[in-house]
């Protein structure tokens, strides 16, 4: 039984890790909580569904189209909404509220077009899965674990080694100084939105293939990712892993020992406990309030 629990924890951790990474990739340079990211997660899955089931493209092509569509939506959010706000020097909270508004608009567009019922994008029969050490794991779960971890490692290498990654880190630490040194911070933020949306799209499709989807499923996933990021401490890769692992473990232990219905509450209780005793997370940087 514990083997099964461990497999679930690993799979959930990898999804949360991917979402936390995609969210923080945008959060570090842009410095606000992009709540509409939840719709990017959901829209990738719904676009895949649209292309595969309703327009009967091949499944691989549909996934690529789904990711591309989600990236476009992410880029449009930045170009049409956040970038003009940044030009106007909007206060920090205005971005968050605008992104909540945007989330409501886009989520309801999905509801209008696809309906609120559960949609299935998985193709083929539901199988018992492969047996490992007496536990069962489906092919999708194996793919989820490997793809998520591979993407997470790739993104971290990209941030550490490539010039774009270095620019993103530079903009994260000081956008004004970057502009002085000739790095266009707006362009870098746009690139971060693109990469972040692509990662979120993959996470959304993987998650929808495992557990099906409703128009709001992205919101819960995103919040778990955000909680993992805050618990882990903003700006730390190890912290992100620890945060995702802690959230996933706590949820599955709660589901196993208490009841699945308490999973949400347990997640947020952990968040609040962290905010009381360790507001900077496992290993975090100072929360920004005053910048001198």
């Amino acid at each position: 039984m514990y083997n099964q629990l461990i497999i679930y924890v690993i799979q959930t951790t990898s999804i949360y890790l991917l979402i936390a990474a995609s969210f923080s990739l945008i959060y570090y340079p842009a410095k606000f909580f992009h709540i509409a990211h939840a719709v990017i997660i959901a829209s990738a899955a719904y676009l895949t569904f649209l292309f595969a089931k309703q327009l009967s493209l091949s499944f691989t092509l549909a996934i690529i189209a789904g990711i591309a569509g989600a990236v476009c939506i992410g880029l449009l959010c930045e170009i049409l909404l956040y970038s003009p706000m940044r030009k106007r020097n909007a206060p920090a909270l205005a971005y968050l509220i605008a992104s909540i508004g945007l989330y409501i608009v886009l989520q309801n567009c999905i509801s209008l077009y696809f309906g609120d019922d559960t949609k299935i994008i998985r193709t083929g029969e539901i199988t018992v899965g492969n047996e490992i050490f007496g536990a069962y794991i489906t092919n999708i779960q194996i793919i989820t674990i490997f793809v998520s971890i591979a993407l997470f490692i790739t993104v971290n290498l990209l941030l550490q080694l490539t010039s774009i990654g270095k620019s993103i880190r530079a903009v994260s630490s000081n956008p004004e100084l970057c502009n002085i040194y000739g790095i266009n911070s707006n362009k870098i933020i746009l690139i971060a939105f693109g990469i972040g949306s692509a990662l979120a799209a993959v996470a959304g499709i993987l998650s929808a293939m495992d557990t099906n989807m409703t128009p709001t499923f992205g919101f819960n996933l995103l919040l778990y990712g955000v909680v993992a990021m805050i618990i882990g401490g903003v700006g730390s890769t190890k912290g992100l892993i620890a945060g995702a692992l802690l959230v996933a473990t706590a949820q599955h232990l709660a589901a196993y020992y208490i009841d699945t219905k308490w999973m949400d509450a347990v997640t947020y209780v952990i968040l609040i406990l962290f905010l009381i005793w360790k507001p900077l997370g496992f290993s975090g940087k100072q929360l920004r309030k005053v910048e001198i």
Partner: protein
Amino acid sequence: MEYLLHLLILIAFYTLLAQSLNLSAGFTGLISLAHAGFYGIGAYTTAILSTQFGLPFWINLPLAMLIGGVIAFIVSLIALRTVEDYFIICTLGIQVIVFSLMNNLMDVTRGPLGIPGIPAIRFFGINLDDKISFLALSVFFVAIVWFILRNISHSGFGKTLKAISEDEIYAQSIGKKVYQAKIISFTLSAILAAIPGALYAHYISYIDPTSFTVNESIFILSIVIIGGLGNLTGSFFAAAFLVLLPEALRFVGMPDNIAANMRQIIYGLILVAVMMTGKNGLKEFFLFYKGNSVKQ
């Protein structure tokens, strides 16, 4: 006619909710996504007290306010250690926990089944079960809350809150007790949210957790922002606008299932537009008045 009265009562409820949230979100700059939670705490306290202990409204209401206030006080001690984005996520967490308790504590709240059979309000042996007298009662509470909040906003304490919303560090540097003022503002806001909660429970006579979700919190916050932060009259007009919006959509011949989504899309778009142009509330679009939006 009955339906029109029903809409007016709903407008009164949402005015109460939006104005109470305006105290913390507008005056103090504490944007909270837990308001539907406190609304729910008020409603559930009233429902449990009146169905299980048979207590009348005039005892339920102060008790609901007291319980809401105590919970908000404890919560604010925790949540106010964080700022800005983190504060919003923290209040969102509180909202989810409160909803989770309402939805899952079967023994106390009956979970998704909800609590039916909440009796109508009785005053001196007269049942307030017709809509006109209930509307009068709601308007009475709106008037009281409006009056209280207006006085707070003009008082010295209100000035302190305004100073905090504009520049917290500066307010602290001139000797204002920022943390204490924030706690008072947040707690008072939650106490006032218990009033529409108690009224709602007695009015609808059946409550279940779906009335007090995260989306409801976002909706209440939208009313405050569309009406203008710190603008009590604006909150009232925005509440009226958003309550009547689905009716207007139905009037132009939109089916109900689409109208529900359309309403959310419209208020989402207004929210985005208000934030994007940096105006404080919808009214500034029409008055061409240049003001500040959410304060740093």
